[in-house]
Symmetry: C2
Subunit: 424 residues, 2 copies
């Protein structure tokens, strides 16, 4: 029976029952942190071999001695390994350091200080706007906030951002300089962009010559299903549409090997790479090529081995996603509380609470010892206009801890939903 | 006999003799690159053990699992290891990624876009000036040039920059926002700042509240002498002078372990670190802590082991410095061509040619197959007003190659000097 079908007395009884259960949780003194999408120790153990994948001799690669300075754009072996991951050519890539976020920051920072491809630097413009499909990734939004862009929420449909709105805003306003996209297994919704959405994104007709699609394909190989569908390669599609210079692609092995010690990859047209090189040449002499080579050797230089490695991750994390989804299905669906989508991959389950309830749920969880990602974090400026979205990150806790946390979570969702109805 | 003492006929004969020798070099088809201060393969071999210094289990450190996200400021074990290198407290440090240059770029970039500690961002100012002791490090100058600062040459004395001039410019002009310093074994002159220079630098009375000393102590443990003198710790001196927030310190293990895969360190007052964290928190989740731990384990967590390791570098590179200095002493000193200082450490020998001869020497070397650092590179904008300075980087070539290159170098110096005299 749905919660909204209960009369006041039934609702009060339901709420009192929840409160008693909640008090019992509080007495347990739980201490669980589910605030970030972190891999579990067992996932990190999968890549233990990376630590002794190389010897000094193996640092002599195709393009020289990788222990020394040089090769700002990365080692050719790593380009070969990761080109299929992003669906680009090897000469359309930079291999970076340990975090793709740094590549995104540097790109935006360069747009701010110098301007992209000779266009006016952001700091000389009255106004810069950035499109932000929501809910989305808080660290993306922090970068554009830091550099003063006005962020505009774009609703997410089941096949990607609302492209009607994106097309209109991009075409009519030259202040719109970019859009953040996590196209496959979006953070946090888990949805993947349809072929149509990718094609429309690639064929945008921006008013601003320096408009860029920031295509963060962080989860492109993080499948949680059999026979996964790979989304269309955006750079190839953009070329077809005459928009080769309109897209930047990003990815990393942060959630493939080690979270803080992976290898980040960026791809773009050769003209864009040449442009960004102006900043990168000043920023550093080279990134850590030894860690690049470590990855190449560990995966035997073959992308299919990376994919096989991801199957091991899937085996470890799929049961955790099932705990989350089964608990939501069992406890909240019959009561009609909230909405969620079963993700086919990625790192999150995105839970939409009844309107106005997200903050309260997060607060209740926290007061009983379970820390979730802050409500609102998935929106620009940390403001969820409907106070609905909560990002659930299942990977880090052990299965039994996660079950406890989810039991508490659904209880808090029930309480918040009941409180709302009681207050109406 | 000095070259200037020769009469025209003698000079002509001397020049013709040089030209014949030069033609013989050209016929050899040499191909040597001495353009950068790169460690030789044998130096890199010294750190081979770094590659298997750690196992997965050893990634569980004092502050958690270093394979995962977190610890933006670096692992405590690395702070402990490197604090004595910079003469700072452990809570006055950031441990970065693979290159201290990136830390410098990020700091200047932050000053440009946001301003330091609430001061006006550079991009909102009419004019920003930066003091550049010359000759100096080209990559420092590139950063300040990239962010639009007007660079002012500061002459170097034998004990450091001309402090009378520095004090005056800093005190009278609020547009002066910083100074680049390589205080120990300066790049390229090899001189070290005296205690008096360090104390005067620490006690500057800048007109600009956001004036900073960029103290790049890249060669602080790269000794080429017995009983080396360590320069005064600038942060401690700045505190004594009430200038705790006026200095940023940088160093790295780029020339201790692996040139592209070392660990970079930054130090500053806690107030400065808190300020810079605003940018770093947006830039990345964390740097590569596994490489930090690799360094900690390889050196057994003890700074004295780092120093012992540097003695092995010295054993490899000192003979190369001797080749350079002996050849200059033997071939150029009797002729009175050029000036140089015997460095007590660092990576370079700085050669001052007769005025107007540096470009010609570099060109002659190049046309006979030896690439040197471009003449002018050691000055802001690549412009050496007297066209005198050439940075000689002895570390990379083998001793016999280096001898060949230096034989050619002194020959080219003789030719350029003779050409100048003949043209007078």
């Amino acid at each position: 029976m749905e919660l909204t079908a209960l009369d006041k007395a039934q609702l009060n009884a339901f709420y009192e029952e929840c409160k008693a259960a909640y008090a019992a949780y509080q007495a347990q003194g739980l201490k669980l942190d589910m605030s970030r999408g972190k891999p579990a120790p067992a996932q990190l153990d999968l890549s233990a071999g990376l630590l002794d994948a190389v010897t000094s001799e193996e640092m002599l690669g195709e393009a020289g001695d990788y222990r020394n300075y040089g090769l700002l754009d990365g080692i050719p072996e790593a380009k070969k390994l990761f080109a299929p991951m992003l669906g680009v050519e090897e000469d359309e890539m930079f291999i970076f350091g340990n975090a793709s976020l740094q590549a995104m920051y540097l790109t935006i920072s360069y747009a701010y200080s110098h301007g992209l491809m000779g266009n006016t630097p952001w700091n000389k413009l009255e106004k810069v706007k950035f499109l932000c499909p929501v809910p989305g990734y808080d660290r993306h939004f922090k970068i554009t906030e830091f550099f003063g862009a006005e962020m505009i929420n774009i609703p997410m449909n089941e096949d990607g951002p609302d492209m009607d709105l994106v097309e209109r805003l991009v075409a009519e306003d030259a202040a719109v300089k970019g859009i953040w996209c996590v196209p496959q297994y979006a953070n946090p919704t888990g949805i993947s962009y349809s072929d149509e959405v990718v094609r429309r994104m690639a064929a945008l007709k921006p008013a601003a010559p320096d408009f860029r699609v920031f295509w963060d394909n962080a989860y492109c190989i993080h499948h949680l299903c059999d026979n996964p569908k790979t989304i269309l390669p955006i750079l190839a599609e953009a070329k077809k549409a005459g928009n080769a210079d309109m897209v930047y692609l990003f990815a990393s092995t942060a959630k493939v090997t080690f979270a803080g010690a992976g290898v980040a990859v960026m791809a773009a047209s050769k003209a864009n790479l040449a442009d960004l090189s102006k900043a990168l040449n000043v920023f550093t002499i080279s990134f850590d090529k030894m860690n690049q080579m470590r990855h190449v050797k560990y995966f035997g230089g073959k992308f299919e081995n990376v994919l096989a490695h991801m199957e091991k991750h899937r085996a470890l994390i799929q049961p955790k996603f099932e705990v989350v989804l089964n608990t939501l299905d069992k406890e909240l669906k019959p009561l009609g509380i909230g909405n969620w989508v079963t993700p086919q991959g990625g790192y999150f389950v995105s839970f939409d609470a009844p309107q106005g309830c997200a903050k309260r749920i997060v607060q209740l969880c926290k007061e009983a010892g379970v820390v979730l990602t802050g409500a609102g974090a998935t929106f620009p400026y940390g403001v969820d206009p409907e106070d609905r979205n909560i990002r659930i990150a299942p990977t880090y806790p052990e299965v039994d801890e996660l079950q406890t946390a989810m039991d508490l979570f659904v209880l808090c969702a029930k309480m918040a939903a009941a409180e709302k109805l009681l207050a109406e």
